[in-house]
């Protein structure tokens, strides 16, 4: 299974970068989201995956009696997801503003700040 | 009516606490038990409405289930057979129900049964536009709805 998941992660990374390279503001954001998902899944995968054993101590017991999946990557990803949400919201608004002020969606036309003044 | 319902719930809770068993069956049993107890101890028409309502509600529920299953089967046949037999259309159903809640309930009931779909309510809340897969006759379709869901909604909510 891990093989498939690893390929999935690679696909997310590849498609994320590909979308970022597409010159379009909207695609840029989509690319960033895809990349973020890829990174989260990578943490998840490399923390090793396990099926059907959520890291929740059951019922009345005080410790795990059976196998449990690693909770730490999950906590990390949670943090990462939330942070990316903050960044994405900002990005979406930034793109909206940039489009409105700069009047273009073509990133190739946004090169005035790299011009010499 | 609200008091009755609350009393009913309270009694249920007491029952559950007494028996100490928090299973769904026990709670259901407690509810029915206390309902009957309340039914027995209550007199007067004003207070009796709660006890008329509950059976209607249950009736409504089963009517809805019936419609749901019936329509699902109808759709199953439609989907499962190679040919398409639909005669779809959008019909404006004049409304007798008035409050927003009633309209919403009616519209949702109609939508929830497969094959029909509430598209919109007119600005003056007098007409409900319903999309349906099988319309042979506008009046018949309207009557179905008015005698079916709308009548029952009016019963339970007024």
């Amino acid at each position: 299974m891990e093989v498939l998941l690893a390929i999935m992660v690679g696909t997310l990374y590849a498609s994320g970068i590909y979308m970022i390279l597409r010159r379009s503001l909207v695609k840029l954001i989509i690319g960033i989201i895809l990349l973020g998902n890829g990174a989260n899944l990578l943490i998840f995968l490399l923390g090793r995956i396990a099926k059907g054993s959520p890291p929740i101590i059951p019922g009345d017991s005080k410790v795990f009696l059976e196998a449990y999946s690693d909770p730490l990557p999950q906590a990390l990803i949670l943090t990462a997801i939330v942070i990316s949400f903050g960044l994405q919201s900002f990005a979406i608004v930034l793109v909206k503003r940039a489009h409105k002020v700069l009047k273009t969606d073509d990133l190739d036309e946004m090169n005035a700040t790299d011009e010499y003044s | 009516m609200k008091n009755r319902f609350l009393a009913n719930l309270l009694l249920t809770f007491i029952w559950v606490a007494l028996t100490g068993s928090f299973t769904i069956a026990n709670i259901l049993f407690g509810f029915i038990l206390s309902y009957f107890v309340l039914f027995i101890i209550t007199r007067g028409s004003g207070r009796a409405r709660y006890f008329k309502l509950v059976p209607k509600l249950i009736g409504f529920f089963f009517y809805f289930l019936y419609q749901l299953v019936k329509a699902n089967v109808q759709v199953a046949w439609e989907v499962g057979t190679p040919k398409l037999h639909m005669t779809p259309g959008i019909v404006g159903v004049p409304l007798d129900v008035e409050s927003d809640a009633q309209i919403t309930l009616l519209a949702n009931m109609i939508t929830l049964t497969p094959g029909t779909l509430s598209l919109d309510v007119s600005e003056d809340k007098k007409v409900l536009y319903v999309y349906s897969m099988y319309i042979t006759n506008r009046e018949e379709f309207i009557r179905d709805i008015k005698d079916g869901f709308e009548k029952r909604i009016l019963e339970i909510s007024s």
Binding site: K51, G52, P54 | -
Partner: protein
Amino acid sequence: MTLDNYLYYIILPALSIAILLVFFRFFKGPSISDRVVAVDLLVTIGIGVIAVYSILSHQPTFLDIALILALIGFLATVAYSFYIQKRKDRDK
């Protein structure tokens, strides 16, 4: 045949097929509404899959996710239809 096996070999595959069918509609479109309907249906079937999976793994915890799916998936649909109503015919 135990319940687990039944769920695993019959029910879950059937749901999977349903998902594939719906996904195919998502692919085909053709209108954005069709896709939204498809996604909405996907989420709904997802709830079912989660329910079956929670039985299979004996973890009622997963049902909580179903709860969230039911609540929040709706909001996405609201948002889509909000957008469809709002936007101009730029998109085609």
